[in-house]
């Protein structure tokens, strides 16, 4: 039927169904060219029965934390790649090439976010770098997939797992209703109750104050570790902009140096200037088009 504005069908006379199951399916529908985001383990570690020993774990989520991991850990140690995250689908005709682990590790100008798991062969130190945006329905499965792969029996209460990430300072709210001291850069923590109240972390920085909260993969990892009685601390760097900030990287290094005797050795301070840190960080987080 034609209307004044062109040919079209009249809207159905039936009343629209609201909150339908079809609507729910549409909301959860996935790109048919992608798989659910998950971790691919190295071939010798793929078996579900294999648990990787871990006595120190640093998890870096997002661009700033990922950049910190690169500039302060990966640049100073030769870590082996033991897993990476992807949602790439291998096409049936084999036109999508599967890269070897060595190829993935060597890739510096990646065209997608870096999502990698490293291990230092000489010790049980593990570094997890996750930079991709994860869909909400993958957060819990991904956190379970990661944590179920490791054996944390050698993890001491004095040596908790650290999860680091950054957020915008304008999102931080204080009870007085003012944004935190109008500061451009500050850091807060949330820790599991296994860690004593007089721990170094509580003396170095303030906790995340209610009504602020942590969401996403950091929250999922924390919840699972807390329920498994494994000590964990989440550090959140609040900064004015979402871009990688070398002052944030230096702040993270100072805090980890002061509060974690075990991680301290893996995150040495650097003499590099801010300019060099930015350049280094951009290598890690850039792609061909930025």
């Amino acid at each position: 039927m034609s209307t004044l504005y062109g040919h079209d069908d009249l809207a159905s006379e039936e009343t629209e169904t609201i909150d339908s199951d079809e609507e729910d399916q549409q909301r959860s529908s996935r790109d048919p060219n992608k798989l659910p985001f998950s971790i691919i383990w190295r071939d010798d570690l793929k078996n579900d029965d294999i648990k990787i020993p871990c006595s120190s774990l640093l998890i870096a989520l997002g661009a700033t934390a990922s950049a910190f991991a690169f500039t302060h850990v990966l640049c100073n140690y030769d870590l082996e790649l033991i897993g990476y995250g992807t949602d790439e689908k291998i096409s049936d005709d084999g036109s999508t090439e599967t890269k070897s682990f060595d190829q993935i590790k060597a890739q510096q100008y990646s065209t997608q976010s870096v999502d990698r798991i490293y291990r230092l062969p000489s010790s049980s130190f593990v570094l997890i770098q996750l930079n991709s945006s994860i869909k909400s329905d993958r957060i819990w499965p991904l956190s379970d997939q990661i944590l179920n792969k490791f054996n944390f029996s050698n993890l001491a209460h004095s040596n908790p797992i650290y999860v680091i990430q950054s957020r915008l300072s304008m999102d931080y709210v204080t009870i007085a209703g003012e944004f935190e001291s109008k500061a451009n850069l500050f850091i807060r923590y949330i820790k599991s109750s296994l860690i004593p109240i007089d721990d170094k972390i509580t003396q170095a920085i303030k906790p995340i104050e209610p009504p602020n909260a942590i969401r996403g993969l950091a929250a999922a990892l924390f919840t699972r570790l807390h329920q498994a009685n494994i000590p964990v601390i989440v550090l959140v760097v609040y900064q004015r902009h979402s871009s990688v900030n070398p002052d944030a990287l230096k702040l993270l290094q100072r805090i980890l140096d002061r509060t974690s005797p075990t991680l301290k050795q893996y995150v040495p301070s650097t003499e590099k200037t801010n300019k060099q840190l930015i350049r280094l960080a951009s290598i890690q987080t850039s792609n061909m088009y930025s």
Binding site: T15, I139, W140, P210, P211, G216
Partner: protein, 261 residues
């Protein structure tokens, strides 16, 4: 269910918020928990709820206490269970959430479910906007600004002695009532309240929805109103004033939703 001690909640009343317009339900539940000084007894491991962690926002609690995405609080003397939900429902998993909730209800042999939610005031129809007393006054140009803004839906409650108004049934554009059961009611911005009510009805589970027509700026006032109505019905306690957690003062002062919701 995790935990070393099996808790007996048989016969308890379950109160929970629907994540709704202006977060009224969650604010009401936080105020309820804070006022009654309820304790967290269980974390629900439902993967259909997005993860959240924070420090406990309530008064008179250990500052080291953690708050999770969805957990259960208990008031044993009044036989009340409260679920506070801070994480959004994962996209596409609303029915899974409702099913989990009703399974929890049956497994714990609870007595009834009460959902606190809000209805986006912008979506009110004429009667909901102006109220029944003044509805006929429109013709006389004698219209009140707003009528009663509280409504309820229930599979069991007969509110004659409470003078409550039941939520009006939905009508199509020709002002005919909707025949399909699933779409009889419309709770704009009410989250899973409508779906939960329908599913509970089908499963013959006693369920009541309490809602306020709410707009931005009315969250705190309407959260309070919901609790007043709830207590008017249940007569749980003598409360002169419901105590909003201090941490939510930021809401009042900045007019922005606190990150914990």
């Amino acid at each position: 269910m995790t935990g070393t001690e099996k808790l007996n909640w048989s016969g308890y009343t379950l109160v929970l918020p629907s994540i709704c317009h202006c977060h009224v339900g969650q604010l009401a539940v936080d105020t309820l928990i804070n006022t009654l000084n309820m304790k967290s007894v269980h974390i629900l491991n439902w993967t259909c709820v997005e993860p959240v962690i924070a420090y406990d926002p309530y008064e008179n609690t250990n500052r080291e206490n953690l708050a999770f995405s969805i957990e259960v609080y208990e008031e044993p003397s009044l036989k009340i269970l409260v679920i506070q939900q801070r994480g959004n429902i994962v996209l596409g998993k609303r029915q899974e959430f409702v099913d989990e909730l009703l399974t929890f209800f049956k497994n714990e042999q609870l007595k009834e479910i009460i959902v606190l939610t809000a209805f986006n005031a912008v979506e009110r129809n004429d009667v909901q906007l102006t109220g029944y007393e003044s509805f006929n006054a429109v013709e006389r140009n004698d219209v009140q600004l707003t009528g009663e803004q509280f409504r309820y839906l229930s599979t069991t409650l007969d509110s004659n002695n409470l003078n409550w108004i039941v939520l009006e049934e939905r009508q199509d554009k020709h002002h005919h009532k909707i025949v399909r059961d699933r779409d009889r009611y419309y709770i704009a911005g009410g989250g899973i309240a409508n779906r939960l009510f329908y599913t509970a009805q089908q499963s013959q589970i006693p369920a009541t929805i309490l809602l306020m027509f709410t707009d931005i700026g009315q969250e705190v006032q309407h959260a309070n109103e919901l609790l007043i109505r709830l207590n008017q019905w249940k007569k749980w306690c003598q409360v002169e004033q419901w105590q909003m957690p201090t941490s939510q003062r930021a809401w009042v002062e900045t007019q922005t939703v606190p990150p914990i919701y």
